[in-house]
Amino acid sequence: MEILWFGILAVLLAGYFALEGFDIGVGLLLPFTAERDRAVGAIAPFVLANEVWLVAVVGVLFGAFPSLEGEVLSGLYPVVVGLLVSWILRDAGLWFRRRLDGARWRSFWTAAVALGSLGLALSWGGVIAGITGAPALLGVVYGVVVAVLFAFHGWTFLAWRLPEEAAAQGASRTGRALAGSAAVACLPIVVPLAALAPEVVGRAAPSATLTVLSLIVLPVVPLLAGAQIWVWRAFRRGAVPTFF
């Protein structure tokens, strides 16, 4: 049971990096993108379904590994605050940038998306350094690595979703290439997580708690997966929405 819940935690974290990774990557690339509205429109229908993977990660930490949750979050206090503020800025940028007309309003919130995305990538470097016990300075290096991988993943996503368009510098990539860049994007979290697995498993909640969680959550898993697949089927091609 402990191993099952560690598996759920790992899948959610890897999924977050693989999915939200391209949203953050596109955010990072926005200052250098020719067609910003097209680029934001391309990720827009995916963002809500992607960012929620991290909400679920923290939920699973809280429910299945509670003693670890308090220790990890409070132990990484400034980094977690940075991550949250960056996340909030990125989201606010997406929700607000097209709510008023005017070039200055839109470029202000586009900058918020880009800065928030940068803050997210760098904070993840800090989190990875923190959970592996690496010195803080190495966290900056990890952060840059995460940012570069996410940017690559984001660029691949644009080249897949908007092939041969200016937003992707005219490039074109297949779905297979996108799966490849997703695998690369989740490496920074999968590797340390695999190394920490025995320690995390040992910190699981008692079996009474895990049983209740399993009984309620496992029957819903097909629905969770189905909803995610539906998002991809609905928005992988066709007109780019203009709401974000």
């Binding site: 699973v60 930490l61 308090g70 989201d91 909640a205 708690t209 959550v217 709401f243």
Partner: protein, 388 residues
């Protein structure tokens, strides 16, 4: 202020902000879903415009619900790791279920609804907003299960230095939950009803060109507000017996809790009375221009009552975080420094406070501009000509 005061103030500020946005979300979701259903059934373009207009106000409000909610979720681990250590094995379960079973689906289906206009088949698109509503209510249920556990730690026993879950059913049948949940959900309806009513009254007062649109909306708002006020008040009074059975000195222990309760009741009774009068006159109300400023003025009242009710419920359990088990002071993260809590307080309260103001201004602007231009569900522009 010391570290404990700052950590509490941070939770109170972010929690109150979250509550203001979430309550309106909870109330507007079923209204938008009903409008969408009627549109799909009848195909009336006016109903499509209503769904999109109120839907856009709903999703603009939703944005702040998300970002304030993120801070709420992480804050337990950041500032209150004593709580996760002592009671995480019990208290963590409803919160984990909320994120996985409710919010995960809610966020996914909301994305499908917002971006699926003119893309998904109409009936499937409609199913999305109903699933958003359903999962939002499920979210409210699990969060209230968690909150009720703090008021009355049912279903758990102390083993060593922490609580362990022994009876999950007792967690769900908590006496501090059964009447409080419908009370909160009804308060959401009251809030949403008042927003729809107040916004429509504003447009009618300005002699809008959209008479039919806002006449219809005003009536929906009045009916919803009355139903909400009536149910909120009923389930509110129904709580007293349950609360007295587990927290006998809840309202008398601190003056703030008693004052919060009393003021909330006063607003509640005023709202029942006013919305009942509005309901009686609902046929003529759209044409009674003199009454429209009154309807606009009472729009903020449910929001104030929400905060007062929240204060009454949470201040009333002080100094306990988990009633009679764990004090707020003991739940604080050990070794949390003044510098750290100041940093996060300024960051969260400052950023979220500013964004909340921006969001409310945007909503006010949406109301003022009316349904002539609605970004939500616009027909997408044709593909640009490829340059390569």
């Amino acid at each position: 202020m010391d570290v404990l005061d700052l950590a509490r103030l941070q939770f109170a500020v972010t929690g109150s902000l979250h509550f203001l946005f979430v309550a309106l979300t909870l109330g507007l979701a079923p209204l938008v879903a009903i409008m969408n259903t009627r549109y799909v059934r009848k195909g009336d373009p006016e109903l499509e415009r209503m769904t999109r207009f109120w839907g856009q106000i709903y999703v603009t409000n939703y944005a702040l619900g998300i970002v304030t909610g993120l801070v709420m979720e992480f804050q337990f681990g950041l500032s209150w790791s004593g709580l996760t250590h002592y009671a995480g094995d019990v208290f963590g379960a409803p919160l984990a279920v909320e994120t996985l079973v409710a919010f995960f689906l809610e966020s996914t289906f909301l994305g499908l609804w917002i971006f699926g206009w003119h893309k998904l088949p109409k009936r499937l698109h409609l199913a999305c907003i109903w699933l958003v509503t359903l999962t939002a209510y499920a979210s409210a249920f699990w969060i209230m299960v968690g909150n009720s556990f703090l008021q009355n730690p049912a279903g758990a026993v102390v083993r060593g230095d922490h609580l362990e879950l022994v009876d999950f059913g007792a967690l769900l049948g908590n006496p501090t939950l059964v009447m409080a949940l419908p009370h909160v959900l009804a308060a959401g309806l009251l809030t949403a009803g008042c927003v729809v009513m107040g916004a429509s009254a504003y447009q009618l007062f300005r002699r809008t060109a959209e008479q039919a649109f806002f006449t219809r909306s005003l009536r929906i708002g009045v009916v919803t507000a009355f139903a909400g006020a009536f149910l909120t008040s009923g389930f509110g009074y129904a709580q007293f017996g349950f609360v007295d059975s587990v927290q006998p000195d809840k309202w008398s222990a601190t003056p703030l809790a008693g004052t919060g309760l009393g003021s909330m009741q006063m607003i509640g009774e005023t709202m029942v009375l006013l919305t009942m009068l509005a309901l009686i006159c609902v046929k003529w109300l759209p044409r009674w221009r003199w009454a429209h400023p009154v309807l606009m003025l009472i729009t903020p009242l449910p929001f104030i009552a929400l905060i007062l009710g929240w204060i009454a419920r949470e201040v009333g359990r002080q100094p306990w975080l988990i009633y009679n088990k764990l004090t707020v002071a003991d739940a604080l993260t050990p070794g949390l420094t003044q510098g750290r809590i100041m940093l996060s307080f300024v960051a969260f309260a400052g950023v979220l406070g500013l964004l909340a103001v921006v969001d409310y201004l945007l909503i006010a602007r949406l109301v003022r501009r009316g349904p002539a231009v609605i970004a939500l569900g616009e027909q997408p522009a044709p593909q640009p000509v490829l340059t390569f």
